[in-house]
Subunit: 362 residues, 2 copies
C-alpha cells in the first residue's frame, strides 16, 4: 500500500508542501540570467563566492560568512572551533538535533566531541535546561525551529535569556538556522536581530529558500577564517561551488519576502487538519511554514485514504507516512510555492473527504 | 611584474594548457542535452547518481563506485576505512602527496592517521621503498602520475611488483588516480587493468576530463558502503550532487578518448621547451598530458619575457611562475583542448622569441 501512495503522490496535480519538483529545471532557471562568461569561484576565492558571502554576512548581521556545500559540514566545524577555543570537547543540544540523528555521528567520529542532550524529545529547550547544564561545555546549539517536533519555537524572551546566560558563562551559542528565514514572521524580527543573540549561525539554502544545496556559516572574522581551514580538511573546499551559490542567491532573492505568506498559509492549513477527526498538528498553531500532522490510526489504514483522495482530487497530501506506533502515524508539511496553486474549493473537497474517511476508521 | 603577466595571460588569444576558461558556460553546455524533468539525486539515491556510479564502477573494473564532491574527502575516507579494517592507524605515501601538502592535514586532524613519507621529493616510489617500510601500515597510496614532480610515472612492472608485494603482506593499495585517464596512453592499458592492481581507486572529474568538480571512489561493495557512511559524516552526502555528476558524465564522454592526443601533444610541446636555452622540462619526456617547465633564471627575469610573448603572439604560456630559488622558477603545463587551437606557425614564432629572450638573460 505504501508504494501505491507514493505512486499516486508522484502523479498528483497539486501538492500541500514544497515549491516544485526537485529536478534539473530548478538549476537551469537559476542559471538563465547568468552570463556565460561569469568566472567560476576557485577554492573559495573569486567574486561569485566572495560577493555572496559578503551579502549573507550583511543580511545576518555578522562580520563574515563562508559558503559550505552542506550544513552537516558547517555545523560540525562551528562546534569544533568553539570546543578548541575553550579547550573543552563538550557541547549541548536537543535530543532530536540533526547532528544527533542524521549525521552518522560525524561530530563524535571525526571530532571526538562529547554531546549532552538537553530538554526532552517532545519540547524545545528552555532557560532552566541550560542553567542546569553547568558551565562545563564549550557551546550550546539551538535549532530554530525544532524541526523534528513539528518546527516548535521558544518564546523570544527565552532566546534572549539563554543568550545572556551563555554570554555570562563563557558558553558559545550557535544557531542551527537551517530554516532561519521561515521563523522571522513569527518573531517579527530581522535575521540580523535574531543572529545578534548567537555567536555563530548556520543557514540552509534548500529548505524554505528552495535552492539546490549549500549553506552559509557566519560569525566573527577569526571564527570564519578558522572555518575555512576546517572546510578544506573536510573536503568541502571544492574548486567550484558556483552551481550551488548561484542557485542559492537566485532563490534567496525570489523567496526571502514570501515567508510571511507561507507562515500564514501553514496556520490556515493546520486548522483544516485539526478540524478533521483523528487528526491533529504539532504545533497546534504553527510558528513557521512547517508542522507535523499526526493521525490516531495505523499507517496501513491511512495510506489508502490519502491515496484515494490524491486520485480523486489531484491533491498530494503526502507521499510518505511515518509509523509512530501501532495505532498512529504522521507526516511533515512544509509550505512553499505550491500550496497557493491549489484551488480553494478543491482543497475544501479534499478535507471533506479526509474527515469523512478518517471518521469511518474503526 | 607578476600582475602584468597575470593580466596579459588573462587576455591571451591562445593557451598552452587547459580546455577552456572555467566559467558558467562549462556548466550550461553540460546541461543543454539534459531534460528539465530529470529528477535530482536525493542524498546519494536516484537514477542520476546510481547510473553514473554503476557506469564508473564498470569502467574502472570495480564492484562498486561512489560519487564524492571532492577527492580530498574521498581519499581521506578510503585511508580511514583501510586503517579501521587492519586496526592500524598508519599509512604511507609520497612526500608531495596531495594529502600531505594541500589538505591542511585533514587526514591527521580528522582521522588521527599517522603518515609515513616514502621515496624522496624528486622521484616516484619504487618497490624497494615499499619493501623497506615493513608491514606495519594499513595502506600505501600511490599517485599516478605524481603531479608535483611534473607527472612522473613508475614503470608498469614496478606497479605490478608493488601490488603483489602489498597483497602478500596485508597492505591495502590505494590509487590516487586524480589523473588516471591521462596515463592510460603511456601504459597502453585500460583503466580497469590498472585499477586491478589496486584495492581502491579515486578518480577526479575536473583535471583532464574538465568537469566542474567531483570525484569517484571505487572498490569492493563492503568498502564503498562504508565510504557512504563516512561521506555523510564528512558532510559530503549532499542532497543534490547532480550539477557535478551531470557535468562529470558529459565531459567524461567528450574527452575520455582524447587522452592519447593530449599525451602526444605534451611530448611535442616538451620538446619545444627543451630546445630553448635555460629551459628544461620534468619529465624530459612526458608520460601523460602534463609536465613542469623549469627555467634557470629568476622569476623576475622571466615574467616580462612571458608577458611580452603573450602580448606579441597572443599565446598565453602561463599566468603564474613559481619561484623555486633565487635563480630558478617553474610552471605546470597540462594539455587539453586549447593546445591544438594554436596555429603551428604562431607557436613556432612564440618559441623562437622565447629562446632568443632566454638567451639574452645574463
Amino acid at each position: 500500500m505504501n508504494n501505491s501512495l507514493a505512486e499516486a503522490f508522484k502523479h498528483a496535480t497539486y501538492y500541500l508542501s514544497g515549491h516544485s519538483k526537485r529536478n534539473v529545471r530548478v538549476l537551469k532557471q537559476a542559471l538563465t540570467a547568468i552570463d556565460d562568461e561569469q568566472a567560476s569561484d576557485m577554492y573559495g576565492r573569486g567574486e561569485v563566492i566572495e560577493n555572496f558571502q559578503a551579502k549573507m554576512a550583511n543580511y545576518l548581521g555578522k562580520e563574515a560568512a563562508v559558503f559550505f556545500p552542506s550544513g552537516t559540514m558547517a555545523q560540525q566545524i562551528a562546534l569544533r572551533i568553539w570546543c578548541d577555543k575553550k579547550g573543552i570537547k563538550r557541547v549541548a543540544y536537543h535530543p532530536l538535533s540533526h547532528l544527533e540523528i542524521h549525521e552518522e555521528d560525524g561530530l563524535k567520529k571525526l571530532h571526538q566531541i562529547e554531546t549532552i542532550l538537553i530538554a526532552d524529545e517532545t519540547r524545545v529547550i528552555e532557560l532552566e535546561d541550560v542553567v542546569s547544564l553547568g558551565k562545563d561545555i564549550a557551546c550550546l546549539l539551538l535549532e530554530l525551529p525544532q524541526r523534528e517536533i513539528g518546527g516548535q519555537l521558544p518564546e523570544y524572551q527565552t532566546l534572549e535569556a539563554i543568550s545572556t546566560y551563555c554570554g555570562d558563562n563563557n558558553i558559545k551559542l550557535h544557531l542551527d538556522g537551517a530554516r532561519l528565514l521561515e521563523i522571522l514572521p513569527f518573531y517579527q524580527k530581522s535575521a540580523a536581530e535574531i543572529c545578534g543573540l548567537f555567536d555563530s549561525v548556520y543557514l540552509s539554502f534548500y529548505k524554505g529558500i528552495g535552492g539546490i544545496a549549500g549553506a552559509i556559516l557566519a560569525g566573527d572574522q577569526v571564527f570564519t577564517e578558522q572555518s575555512k581551514i576546517w572546510k578544506r580538511r573536510h573536503g568541502g573546499d571544492i574548486i567550484s561551488l558556483y552551481p550551488y551559490i548561484i542557485s542559492a542567491d537566485h532563490y534567496f532573492e525570489q523567496r526571502k519576502d514570501n515567508m510571511a505568506e507561507y507562515y500564514h498559509q501553514a496556520k490556515e492549513l493546520a486548522l483544516a487538519f485539526n478540524d478533521c477527526r483523528k487528526s491533529a498538528t504539532t504545533p497546534v498553531m504553527p510558528t513557521s511554514n512547517m508542522f507535523h500532522v499526526h493521525f490516531s490510526a495505523a499507517r496501513e489504514k491511512l495510506e489508502p485514504i490519502l491515496s484515494s483522495i490524491c486520485l480523486e482530487t489531484g491533491i498530494g497530501i503526502t507521499g510518505y507516512l511515518k509509523s509512530t506506533s501501532n495505532q498512529t502515524c504522521s507526516f511533515e508539511v512544509s509550505i512553499g510555492d505550491r500550496y497557493q496553486q491549489i484551488p480553494k474549493d478543491l482543497l475544501q473537497k479534499g478535507f471533506k473527504l479526509l474527515d469523512e474517511r478518517l471518521g469511518k476508521i474503526e
